[in-house]
Assembly symmetry: C4
Homo-oligomer: 509 residues x 4
Amino acid sequence: MNAGKLISGEEVAKHNRRESCWIIIHGKVYDVTEFLDGGCRGSKIILKYAGKDATEEYEPIHPPDAITTNLPPEKHLGLVEPSTVEKVQVKITDEEKARQERVSNRPPLDEILNLHDFEAIARQTMPEKAWAYYSSAADDEITTRENHAAYHRIWFRPRILVDVTKVDSSTKILGYKSSMPVYITATALGKLGHPDGELNLTRAAAKHGVIQMIPTLASCSFDELVDAARPGQVQFLQLYVNKDRSITKRLVQHAEKRGIRGLFITVDAPQLGRREKDMRMKFEAEDPSEVSKAGSRGVDRSQGAARAISACRSFIDPGLNWKDLEWFKSITKMPLILKGVQRWEDALKAYDLGLAGVVLSNHGGRQLDFARSGVEVLVEVTEYLKRQRGLTFPNENFQLFVDGGVRRATDVIKAIALGATAVGIGRPFLYAFSSYGSEGVERALQILHDEFEMNMRLLGARSVADLAPDMVDASNIHSHLVAVPSDKLYESNYESMRHARLRDVKSKL
Amino acid sequence: MNAGKLISGEEVAKHNRRESCWIIIHGKVYDVTEFLDGGCRGSKIILKYAGKDATEEYEPIHPPDAITTNLPPEKHLGLVEPSTVEKVQVKITDEEKARQERVSNRPPLDEILNLHDFEAIARQTMPEKAWAYYSSAADDEITTRENHAAYHRIWFRPRILVDVTKVDSSTKILGYKSSMPVYITATALGKLGHPDGELNLTRAAAKHGVIQMIPTLASCSFDELVDAARPGQVQFLQLYVNKDRSITKRLVQHAEKRGIRGLFITVDAPQLGRREKDMRMKFEAEDPSEVSKAGSRGVDRSQGAARAISACRSFIDPGLNWKDLEWFKSITKMPLILKGVQRWEDALKAYDLGLAGVVLSNHGGRQLDFARSGVEVLVEVTEYLKRQRGLTFPNENFQLFVDGGVRRATDVIKAIALGATAVGIGRPFLYAFSSYGSEGVERALQILHDEFEMNMRLLGARSVADLAPDMVDASNIHSHLVAVPSDKLYESNYESMRHARLRDVKSKL
Amino acid sequence: MNAGKLISGEEVAKHNRRESCWIIIHGKVYDVTEFLDGGCRGSKIILKYAGKDATEEYEPIHPPDAITTNLPPEKHLGLVEPSTVEKVQVKITDEEKARQERVSNRPPLDEILNLHDFEAIARQTMPEKAWAYYSSAADDEITTRENHAAYHRIWFRPRILVDVTKVDSSTKILGYKSSMPVYITATALGKLGHPDGELNLTRAAAKHGVIQMIPTLASCSFDELVDAARPGQVQFLQLYVNKDRSITKRLVQHAEKRGIRGLFITVDAPQLGRREKDMRMKFEAEDPSEVSKAGSRGVDRSQGAARAISACRSFIDPGLNWKDLEWFKSITKMPLILKGVQRWEDALKAYDLGLAGVVLSNHGGRQLDFARSGVEVLVEVTEYLKRQRGLTFPNENFQLFVDGGVRRATDVIKAIALGATAVGIGRPFLYAFSSYGSEGVERALQILHDEFEMNMRLLGARSVADLAPDMVDASNIHSHLVAVPSDKLYESNYESMRHARLRDVKSKL
Amino acid sequence: MNAGKLISGEEVAKHNRRESCWIIIHGKVYDVTEFLDGGCRGSKIILKYAGKDATEEYEPIHPPDAITTNLPPEKHLGLVEPSTVEKVQVKITDEEKARQERVSNRPPLDEILNLHDFEAIARQTMPEKAWAYYSSAADDEITTRENHAAYHRIWFRPRILVDVTKVDSSTKILGYKSSMPVYITATALGKLGHPDGELNLTRAAAKHGVIQMIPTLASCSFDELVDAARPGQVQFLQLYVNKDRSITKRLVQHAEKRGIRGLFITVDAPQLGRREKDMRMKFEAEDPSEVSKAGSRGVDRSQGAARAISACRSFIDPGLNWKDLEWFKSITKMPLILKGVQRWEDALKAYDLGLAGVVLSNHGGRQLDFARSGVEVLVEVTEYLKRQRGLTFPNENFQLFVDGGVRRATDVIKAIALGATAVGIGRPFLYAFSSYGSEGVERALQILHDEFEMNMRLLGARSVADLAPDMVDASNIHSHLVAVPSDKLYESNYESMRHARLRDVKSKL
């Protein structure tokens, strides 16, 4: 460790090639040559910054402690002499100027009426790279849209003439109070959207009494996010299991020590999904002069932010399997929940193993395309677990969670009525803070809360416990329909009907 | 009470702030300061007129007697000296000029061929605020559109070779004759669309022999509407139950005394729904210079006409419940009907309590989004009430009504064939009088009547009683389908077929 | 009768008002004053030509003998002196010039590949009035489109490895040979589209060995069409039953004498349907200066060609009923077929009465909207008539026909496989002759024939009798689906995926 | 045979008419007069080149040996004197220049992310004629699109917590190893898209260890394609059975001798389907000055590439039937597979006859429109063959294949999980080599392979054998739905919701 040593920018600049590659991050110099050799897919990006200051590229993608944790001490070469570093000229493109203009034109927060609105504004005001990473999903993005559409196949059967002067939207999740049956689920790379990253979520969660699930892949470090919590604020941890179980063990036990109340083990990502919108973004962003000619297959550039960032770390172990769960029980007392269960058979196994619950999730449609939506799987799970183990839901001893596609409190209510304990929401909060920081997340939570209470009243429910299966009609939930390919010739001939028109616009039929 | 006192406009103008707020309505001066303190959401709008003449804003939203009824006599300060009131300069915007141009270009009434046409013309010629209030619905407006779409899942099974030289479309509703099984249902704020407000409906209903349901929230006063009725003209009353039951009792007993023949108690609105189109309109209409900056959360402006007008009055009691019905029976002999029943269980309860009927309605899709359509609930209700109480429909002793989404006489016929006694129609009549006054409503009723008789003939029905369940195929009524998210890549590649083309337009494939 | 008398144009011109109205048709002068008083809806149009030569307006709508048949002899005033008639200046509008330009640009016939193509060309080259009359249908035109769409819910189950070197598409209809199981069904007002009117159909039918059904409302006279038939050419007659049964009796017995082989009695039109596209056309066509002001209700102009032409004749008796059928049996030996049956109960009645068959039809969607398609009713009818009378189909003694929506030979094959004896096709032939005269109809029949034989081969059918129910999958025929109202906010936010693009079109995501 | 004789171009040029028609191909002179008389539909095209060098037109459509095989030796007139042939001036049109510009702008191969991308690029860069031939399908192209859409009605039920560190995508097809359960199915006229034609497929198949099925109608000769195979590379043959069985016998026995491992007999094409997009292309391509006038019916030009090339050869025998299969068994020991089975009854027959398997296929939607997709028929076949013969699938002794509509590895996986042994892919590889030659095909195979392995991991499958029926939900596979015709008037009135907007774009509602 040479933490204190001063190195000149000129010296760093010499190590700008594959054989010897130094970079500067937050004023410190690191020798990352070995990263390039480890079959790392991010190599190309690293090389781009060889001999230069990579802070700006590094920051939104890695927590501050990522490089120190992953690089052996001897590769920490020392401090750079600030005055000697050549400034990388960041040219502000016309597109970027236009974007900043749009940012300054975003509407005041109280004109945001629903969660869709955050997305509409974020889409126009976020950096394209961030939008591509957040919004993209697997393959043809069928599942990510089905996640939302599935809720539209569930309808309400409201009760009337219930005294709803007072309604109580609060509930308990794994025994911890939440102001409504909603939690902020784990999503990666918060700093792509806002410099404070996931801290925006921590702060807003505290104000609104909801629980945040900290992601393994946060842009902020785990400890930053725990430190930012208010006294008594409950946090969960989402876990990607590392091939090196000792790393995982350290992480889990550290989390437990820091007061994390539930461990959500991701089981739907033995390999990261292809997210082509994100991958395509990559090409657009690159300098065209570097682009190889048609047919060349030199460098594999076919990866978006998702893969670029994750590739070098073996943080996702494809070997993870049912037998590992005993080991987890042996290293922690935290309740264990599987995140990414997608069929009743696996929910049953989790129950039989004595886990605390499962999240019925397809990773926001970012992994396996044509995976069914969580809320559809929920219907299957409650049916079979009742049939095979006599369980009814919601169930304190084995809690079901659902995430993906939620945009309205009515979506949440549908899942709760069908037996879920709580519903995870992710992207909408990312869009909220990307445009408006933590105030955006607060507003989003407030909107959800207002919608939730209003809809409880309209349904005739005084408490979350009142949200029973008879309040919804989910009989069409399993109908995955594709219309017959449209009838092009017939339709091109059909002269559409039209209504009465003002006299001056009258012309041809 | 200082009814006769003369106050100068200058004096009024001094009371232009929260601490002391006077306004002028119809030449009378009122001290409305206390309205501002009562947590009223409309405060901001009131303040805008503090010290000024608010008649124009007030009129379309409140019946003439609203302020006298709600404000204690001592706040009625007297008359303003007309010459001393500063004229509020109403600047006619370019948009308004364009609108008035469109109004003068509206087609003659006989070019209006169906109810859709009224809506098409109204949309272009109404003030935007009125259009936003009338047309908006809850959340994503799924239910309001489903209300119409549901009728498109019902098909006909016509009988042939029935002598239909004479057909009779008349029927009885709660024992009172109607020229067809249609009534004008209650809708609020008629003056937003036309200066005569709901009087347009009263007059047209008289001419066509149909029944009008007077709304609690009419722009005209209740007595105006009753006074305008012809001798023998039947009227019903729609009731929002006030937290202060004495107000409700007074209203109900007054209605009974004035000859109202049926009391329709609204049960689907313990809280007013969010109608975002209406809310969004509000922002657009405001002076941009007043708009707070992003993030500011000072004043809650997120409300449309609906909430603005209703908030200060506790006219909707969320505590209303089944037990209140005994009380209603004790204060009136009018037949009691619940308006807004949405599942068979509640229809059964209403029957068991001895009520006269229920309206299967979701409030035009303006309350709970994803509530099912009335005509779908009708199928469920007739099935279960037959199964559990042996009832058949239509049934004189327990009448079923349906409203929402009706645009064609075929829609009405479908509901009648499935067991409804009559169908309520609301918005189409609003659009009709907004563009053409009471003549528009007459034309709308005439169109409905013509369509109704023609379709009876085509179905082989000589009377309303002939409209039996075997005449419709409603087997798809419960199919709420959402197509699988569309296949964007595949579709963008598919080269559409095209038909033969004229020779001169021939170019590329 | 003053057939020979010569009258000057000036004299005629004096009778140009309601009180005395003369018109000239084909050089003859008629006093039509009494037509104006008989409550006739066409009055307004007649008055337009009062005192003038009305031939051009009259011709496409009425057969030559219509006026002589309907007007008493004393109203036939004589011949006009040709030189004295003021020429009505027909100004050729720019629209008309553009249309004639399009006519001259229509593609050669061999570029017409399918029946859709005729419609595409006709739409651009026909007079608008004719297009509006032919293409329009009832109300929202749901049924007319469903007629076609229903075929798209039926799929094939082809047999392989059948020797199809020779295939035979011929069949028998009511015992008469047809080159394929298709007939030309009755449609009105052929001269709107082409000066030779229905003669185009007679000629082409002869060449291709198919049967023409002559319509009651042909533009050509019945005898013209029979005279034009080749020796041995089979023709049927479609019948609207007149209130005055003596007129009907005369017509039927005349038809039988002239060799008509089957009488198709229309039973789905006790009243003509509203066809709003046609009605709307009417307004557009009128001189705007004549158009009354908004609100005026003087003249009822709300009718298209359909109603205008039919109103004065009581040719459709709404009193027609089952009992009349015995009378029909007593006046003719022709086989009787009901045209317009729409449910199995009525097909069963027709069978029990000993009729020769029924046409499952909804009048091309021009009468009752939301009537089901003929091919759907076919499935129901064969099922119930088997269940209740043990019948199998096709059945020589009780033949089922279907019409409406057919555009492809595959449509025909589907109906035949499901039990129909033959399928009627109407509009496509109208479009064919409107653009290309009788050669167009021949080409249309040739295309159908080629498609028919090819598809028989591909299905593994050597003869029409081989087209059996196991060759189709009609399990979805009863699914009338309406997608849940689309999810506007979600969709407006969804960023569509896109495929790879050429390098120069690359820009923003 | 006058192979060596030298003929001058001038001499050839004299034989430029129907009575005597010589053409030059690859420097050789042929007398093709008799081709013109044989009722050949391609006559017109041949005549265009009478007396000229036809090589360029001939090449992409016929294998080099086609003319020598089909023309008797005495018609091989000799060699042309090269210097004496008049060069046919090929004028490069502006469209062609634009196309070549697009070709040079195609993106580098590594920007191609999925199989859709090849199609997108090919559509823009291929000659229109080739695109029309490859992309077109039968009638309304309903089936070709359904082929793809059907996969979208099948969803996944992934297993979690399976150790997928290693996954193996390889399998066996008819006993031969394949790197994944995918083969390159037979498609015709490869040289239309690329000068190397099907050789591109042979080469890429070798590199990726997959099997190519050689088409009867390849642009390259059979022997060329076999010669190009690497040692041990497995190839199958697709067979159109000739009317002249001796030709077929020769072809089959030659194939067996050359080492072909499986014979796929096409049974879904007793007649070539109508492919109207291809036919329409033909008209566009022709010299407008030659186009006959409307109504003329001289030459039958209504045929695309498909029919033009095939018509003169009786290569498809419509008389082929079940009895022929015994004959096939007698002439070859190769495994026999029927290609184009479309219902369970026929699959059962094939099994009972002892064949090696069937391909459930509708010829890429190019034959019978409204034939069901292969993957739908697969569900039916496995169900009935289990029920009637106790078979389970995949089954070594009777293998099921599926082709049509595949674009993603997930499509392949769905078919495999439902019981298929392998899936054939055709068009995507054509598009791949049309734009990028054999490197394109390699990239396509690589993408499929990557997708395949990734999705195995995400599904929890370690080997192809793990892909079991419980991993998919195909309960909607038989739902062929057509939405009710859209509600034009209602929709044109509906004011769409909209989300929050930036402040500067704010205008009217």
